[in-house]
């Protein structure tokens, strides 16, 4: 059994199946994205017990009895997470393919470090590739979310 966004999930997929396949193909969660299949780009980032991990190369056996949070688990359309609000307010992205993973990592950062410096934000997001060059506004959006959460 795996808990995904607080829901217990039983899967009949083979143990070695990457978690991302379960999320996207079986559960129809569109948030986490496939970018490389090798854990190198961060597009598929999810939280495992609150810690960011790439899901494209994470076998199901490794997350048995663990808590998984995806972008969909951070907030909803009706009640977005402060980060989602901030990213929308800042137009923080260009094509947006990297954003799901970045939002997930940023949420873990804000859990541990509610008022992160620019350097801390960059360090927390350093595993994530953004090809469009939206980095500046993504950093601004994380700062904005931190302020909103603090205020």
């Amino acid at each position: 059994m795996i808990r995904i966004n607080s829901q217990p999930i039983q899967s009949s997929l083979p143990d070695k199946t990457p978690l991302l396949n379960l999320l996207r193909d079986e559960l129809g969660l569109a948030g986490a994205k496939l970018g490389c299949g090798e854990g190198e780009c961060g597009a598929c980032m999810v939280l495992v017990d609150g810690r960011p991990q790439t899901s494209c190369n994470l076998p199901l056996w490794a997350v048995k009895d663990h808590d998984i949070t995806t972008l969909e688990g951070l907030g909803s359309v009706e009640r977005p997470h402060a980060l989602q609000e901030a990213f929308m307010a800042e137009n923080a992205g260009q094509c947006g393919y990297c954003l799901s993973g970045i939002l997930v990592s940023a949420s873990a950062l804000l859990q541990h470090s509610p008022r992160p410096t620019r350097d801390e934000i960059c360090a927390a997001l350093d595993k994530h590739l953004c090809r469009c060059g939206a980095h500046e506004r993504i950093i601004r959006a994380v700062q904005r979310a931190a302020q909103a959460l603090a205020g």
Binding site: L13, P14, T17, N21, R24, D25, G28, L29, A30, G31, K33, L34, G35, C36, G37, E38, E40, C41, A43, T70, L71, E72, G75, S76, V77, P80, Q84, F87, M88, A89, E90, N91, A92, G93, Q94, C95, G96, Y97, C98, L99, S100, L103, I121, C122, A123, L125, D126, H128, L129, C130, R131, C132, G133, A134, H135, E136, R137, I138, I139
Partner: protein, 728 residues
């Protein structure tokens, strides 16, 4: 069989018909742009597609402002062959000019037609009517209905006539002001399905392609490339193999099964790969000596021969670059025996359909194309190729939709590349330190192999089928469309004797095509590095040296703006810190851009700040312009400091993000963008003006910091050390 004539790079406005604004000229019916049949919603059609550049947002601003409707009343409908205009490609930073101008004028006309009906019915002066959120009011505040009421029995299948001019800038309330929310981003931030990767069709099956490792690779056992035992085992588990020449695909019931079968296929199939590629360590020699065809973008005044009073001569080299989209190329196709449906993130669904007709022998009318958003592509990546892959598999399995997705390795090694590019510059200065002679010679492959432009299809899979023809050589758009490898090769400076020689390679060992800014990136890097070298060689200030050679007020204004508004440019440099400047006017006819870079050169090169000023004429979406400029600057910085595609004599060896590092958050400098306000000037695209100037500004800053000139891109540790050793 219907064939499609190759598509030109520019609109033919001398076709005997009255010239209409933008792409209205080739899509003349109002109904091709606007639909009011859904009460409360204005459907705005565009043939342009969202690539992450924010075009849907910019176009919705244009429509909302012209019609006086709210942004949330606009429903943008992007490219499909079922309805809307044919606008060819979304490329070259011309969407706001061509599509935006058409939408603006179509909206002005429909607004007039609707107001005219309301005014006549109420016997009021049309000029006294006001519109707010699509509702009409008299001067006294009387409600007079709305667009949907007055247009319900008006057939918009009528040609644009120019009945009313668009509004003056002063009456536009959304243009160039503040931050308009992006149309597409909320879905992507909230995790709602929006990308083509998220599209699921009923009964959908999953395809993969085993790509030949190189263009000239042959199957070692062409008769039976896939072992019978493997195929038997697959057929028991629902995996089908589609084999056509060197095109090998599989279709399975799930992504997991498809990935697993592809792994087995890769193990089983043997290739013979000839040593057909150049030596990547001797790239300049290859470019200079390869067979080529010569054109002369400018031949003005005397020719400056090597060794004949040359003040300075330098060579600059750019490697092959990958588009390196974060998302994988992906497409869906379905064939029912008569109609082929294709879902694609191609930049040009019409061009792609043209090439599908050539490759398949199907008439255009049998093919329905729909654009679905992909990740940023930055030019011609694998989007078109993967669509053809999906089509071949779907046609082999009639009925079921087939989804194909490429791998990261495919993305980096089989998608078209940005060409390697060598520039050799020489110049003569007079005794007053003014340039009198300039000679620019360049060698590169063409910068376009996009579908739709050649007699033969340019799709990778089509070239690999049994009856396939080799992919046509990459060509260059004509200078009237901005040029290709010669884009920005003509210096935008006042120089009496100027010659540019363009060698387009007529061999193409690595497939090249359009990558953002085309040749402008390498040419501006070379020209603006060389200007810096000339300034230093003659003891002149690099900014002043450029100013004295500039030819127009807007060039001067953009350079002055970036220098005057910088908070650090005039400050003394600390140890190891260098400042660099560069500028260009994209295509010499489009947006102006000037860049200042501040770098720290120590163990590694660290970029501290990038200041950018742009003049894109009238700004439609201010935050969109800033976003494109920031992003372009950072992507340009990534190309310049880090990127090069690697290959051995047989094949591309760049296969993963480890092989092809791109810019990371920890390397991002502070980027400051100044947008010059020019509301009375035509809008110019904002996506590609900055990459060339950023490259040169970084090289110039590196020189300022170290006193060493690096002329080979990327400005990597290796190339910096090499330049240090050579100068010692």
């Amino acid at each position: 069989m219907s064939t499609s004539a190759p598509r030109a790079f520019t609109i033919d406005r001398n076709d005997g018909r009255p010239v209409l604004p933008g792409n209205l000229h080739i899509n003349r019916l109002l109904s091709q742009w606007l639909d009011f049949s859904h009460p409360g919603v204005v459907r705005v059609f565009t043939g342009k597609v969202e690539l992450g550049q924010g075009i849907l947002t910019a176009l919705s601003i244009i429509a909302a402002d012209e019609l006086d409707v709210a942004l949330d009343q606009i429903g943008m409908v992007s490219a499909t062959t079922l309805e809307g205009p044919d606008e060819g490609m979304t490329s070259s930073s011309i969407s706001v000019q061509d599509s935006g101008s058409a939408i603006r004028h179509a909206c002005a006309e429909v607004r007039y037609l609707a107001l005219q009906r309301a005014a006549q019915a109420h016997q009021l002066d049309i000029l006294s009517l006001r519109v707010n959120k699509g509702r009409f009011k008299s001067a006294e505040g009387q409600d007079l209905g709305d667009y949907w009421h007055w247009l319900q029995d008006l057939n918009l299948m009528r040609e644009y006539e120019g009945l009313s001019r668009p509004k003056p800038y002063g009456e536009l309330t959304l243009h160039g002001r503040g931050k308009v929310p992006r149309v597409d981003l909320p879905d992507k931030i909230l995790g709602r399905p929006r990308f083509i990767h998220d599209l699921r069709l009923p009964g959908m099956r999953h395809g993969r392609i085993l790509r030949a490792p190189a263009a000239e690779a042959q199957l070692t056992n062409a008769q039976h490339p896939v072992p019978t035992a493997l195929r038997d085992r697959w057929s028991a588990s629902g995996v089908q193999c589609v084999l056509d020449g060197r095109f090998i695909g599989i279709v399975a019931e799930s992504n997991l099964a498809a990935d697993s079968a592809l792994g087995e296929l890769r193990e089983a199939v043997q290739w013979t790969v000839p040593a057909a590629l150049p030596d990547m360590h001797q790239l300049a020699d290859f470019l200079r000596t390869a067979a080529n065809e010569v054109t002369y973008p400018i031949q003005q005044g005397e020719l400056l021969h090597a060794g004949d009073g040359v003040s300075l001569a330098c060579d600059y080299l750019k490697p092959y670059l990958a588009h390196a989209s974060i998302g994988l190329s992906c497409a869906l196709a379905q064939w029912d025996g008569t109609t082929l449906q294709v879902w694609t993130h191609s930049q040009g669904i019409q061009n792609l359909r043209d090439d599908l007709t050539k490759a398949l022998g199907l008439p255009k009318t049998a093919i329905v194309m729909r654009h679905v958003e992909g990740s940023g592509c930055y030019g011609h990546n694998g989007a078109d190729d993967v669509a053809f892959d999906a089509v071949v598999l779907a046609m082999a399995l009639p009925g079921d939709p087939v989804r194909v997705v490429w791998s990261r390795a495919d993305e980096l090694s089989h998608a078209p590349l940005g060409s390697a590019h060598l520039v050799s510059l020489r110049a003569r200065l007079n005794d007053k330190g003014h340039i009198t002679h300039w000679h620019h010679e360049l060698w590169a492959n063409g910068y376009s192999s996009r579908p739709g432009r050649a007699a033969l299809p340019t799709l990778l899979g089509a070239s690999q089928r049994a009856n396939g023809q080799p992919i046509p050589l990459a060509i260059n758009p004509p200078l009237a469309a901005g040029g290709g490898s010669d884009r920005n090769a003509v210096p935008a400076y006042n120089i009496e004797h100027t010659h540019v020689v363009n060698h387009r390679l007529t061999v193409m060992p690595l497939r090249t095509s359009a990558m953002r800014a085309l040749g402008a990136y390498a040419n501006v890097f070379a020209i603006e590095s060389f200007m810096d070298e000339l300034a230093h060689a003659s003891g002149q200030d690099p900014v002043e040296f450029r100013r004295r050679h500039m030819t127009d007020a807007r060039s001067l204004a953009v350079l002055n703006a970036v220098v005057e508004r910088s908070t650090w440019w005039h400050l003394p440099r600390e140890e190891g810190v260098g400042h660099g400047v560069a500028w260009a006017r994209y295509k010499n006819t489009s947006a102006w851009c000037a860049v200042l870079a501040r770098v720290q050169a120590g163990e590694t090169l660290r970029v501290l700040q990038l200041d950018v000023a742009v003049d894109v004429g009238r700004v439609v979406d201010l935050d969109g312009v800033i976003n494109q400029t920031e992003g372009g600057a950072l992507q340009g910085m990534s190309w310049t400091l880090k990127e090069a595609v690697h290959f051995d004599r047989q094949q591309v060896t760049t296969q993963s993000w480890v092989d092809y590092p791109t810019l990371r958050f920890s390397e991002v400098p502070v980027v400051t963008v100044h947008v010059l306000d020019q509301p009375d000037q035509p809008s110019l695209g904002a996506g590609e003006s900055v990459q060339g100037p950023v490259a040169a500004a970084l090289g110039n800053a590196l020189f300022d910091a170290l006193g060493v000139r690096v002329r080979q891109l990327p400005l990597s540790q290796d190339h910096i050390l090499q330049a240090v050793n050579e100068s010692a």
